[in-house]
Amino acid sequence: MIQTIAFYLFAVLTIASAAATILSRNPVHSVLFLILAFFNAAGLMVLTGAEFIAMLLVIVYVGAVAVLFLFVVMMLDIDFAELRAGFVKNFPLGMLVAVVLLAEMVLGIGAYKAGALDLGTPDGTAATPAGASNVEAIGGLMYSRYLFLFEAAGLILLVAMVGAIVLTHRQRSGTRGQKISKQNARRPDEATVNVKPEVGKGVSL
């Protein structure tokens, strides 16, 4: 009973906010609707018993990725007239992407219905091993059967991170940044000097 209500609540909100993401005119509203869609998708995952994935979805996508996204969109100065002018030109490309996505979805659902994939039981509940919590089950699989794939994913992320840092890091000359270790290492006897200038002569530092 309560599961059914919760399911329909989350499902309807996910679809409605996903539709609102592409329909709303204001890009900031779009991003906020996208966040709502993520959040409700996390709710659906909790219902299927994948609470660990749900929390990761919220922490990673909602808490980090979407914040940066929102950040960028807020700073952008978007010209709506120009955006709408490009609609006819981009329409064929958009249709192509939509058809590819539809085909992938049909294929994916077909493969799942055919039972070729060992993902879970068809009634939608994930088959977690008995007696193990979600976190333990995922950890157990990830660090044994899929260890090399996991490490490869980690390496790819590391390379991406190094790449991003290399791309954005630039050595600027002439800046006067604060070096806290240097400041802390400074002692009075090297920072101050006592001079007794003669009358009529200045002090050179």
Partner: protein, 348 residues
């Protein structure tokens, strides 16, 4: 509690529903009262540190000051700036306030006295606290004003930066406790050091983590010395500049509920939660929630003490501390703690 309502002749589902509602009210209403009183305590502590008297007019010792303030803002007019994005402007304080209450669902007040005893309690807290930034960003953007927008940008950068190191610190705790369930994390601290001291904080490997967690929780709740989002001298009042009446009050309540939550997390994750400080049978005669509240109050005192004494950080110093000091050190400690636990066979 579900069983109690089932005994009254309800079906399981209705009993669950009613008991959950009761549980939420049992946590949320005292929490609101606690927030009102803790604002008073905060002001009294700053006042005595500044050799002032603090609020002392409304009620005995000024105890009713927060309620008078609440009544005042309640009677004020809600002003929505004409250039503001109305929907978001009004939703933003609601989001902040709701999120501040949500995390309390997984905080154990006593052995088993917890609204939602879930396996992933700590991840849930991380998830909710990572959502907290939206209230601020939405307010800053929807106000359509310079200072709130600057404040929102500062807040989002600050909260994301410190969440990373908080995540690593919590991983150290989780590794040692072997669970994400907060109640079990408290149990894991029973007699942790020499079999007599309750609390991870006495553990030499976790003590530095606690110090970093305390500082990060100051940054996460935007309290001094990291209150750059509402730096009065630069940003008027930060993201709340355009807010008035109950919307403003919702921000205040949310902010203090978050501060209390961070105090509760400090107490629960490192200081043994509702366990007494020492594992001596006599101390267990005092009920668990008394120990818990004492610890929360102690941390709140530390928070106000810091606010009363420490000058504000500069923005680049804040970022340096988060990314160049806390992140590498907490990552190092994850490696050290997991290495130690593997070497000593803790996981068997």
């Amino acid at each position: 509690m579900t069983g109690f309502f089932q005994n009254l002749g309800m079906s399981y589902e209705w009993a669950w529903f009613v008991s959950t509602i009761c549980g939420i009210l049992l946590i949320a209403l005292p929490l609101m009262l606690a927030v009102a009183m803790i604002i008073y305590v905060d002001r009294k502590i700053w006042a005595s540190m500044a050799l002032r008297r603090g609020p002392n007019v409304v009620g005995p010792f000024g105890l009713l000051q927060s309620f008078a303030d609440g009544l005042k803002v309640f009677l004020q007019e809600t002003i929505v700036p004409s250039a503001a994005n109305k929907g978001l402007f009004l939703i933003a304080p609601i989001v902040t306030f709701t999120l501040a209450l949500l995390s309390w669902a997984v905080i154990p007040f006593n052995s088993g006295a917890i609204l939602a005893d879930i396996n992933i309690g700590l991840l849930y807290i991380l998830a909710i606290s990572s959502l907290g930034v939206y209230g601020t960003i939405m307010a800053g953007w929807a106000s359509n004003s310079k200072y709130p927008f600057f404040s929102a940008m500062r807040a989002s950068a600050q909260m994301i930066s410190y969440e990373v190191s908080i995540g690593f610190i919590l991983i150290c705790v989780v590794l040692w406790a072997g669970t994400f369930n907060i109640n079990d994390i408290v149990w894991a601290q029973k007699g942790h050091v020499f079999g007599i001291i309750n609390g991870f904080v006495a553990n030499p490997l976790l003590f530095p983590m606690w110090v970093m967690f305390l500082i990060s929780s100051l940054a996460e709740t935007q309290r001094a010395p990291f209150d750059l989002t509402e730096a009065e001298s630069e940003l008027v009042a930060g993201y709340q500049t355009e807010y008035s009446s109950m919307a403003f009050a919702a921000y205040w309540l949310g902010e203090y509920a978050n501060v209390l939550l961070m105090c509760a997390l400090n107490a629960t994750l490192f200081w043994g939660g509702w366990l007494p400080p020492l594992d001596i049978p006599v101390l267990y005669l005092v009920p668990g929630f008394v120990w818990f509240l004492l610890k929360v109050f102690f941390f709140f005192f530390v928070f106000s003490w810091i606010k009363a004494t420490v000058p504000r950080y500069r923005y680049d110093q804040l970022m340096r501390l988060g990314w160049k000091v806390f992140l590498p050190v907490s990552l190092l400690f994850v490696v050290i703690v997991s290495g130690y636990l593997m070497a000593t066979g803790h996981f068997q």
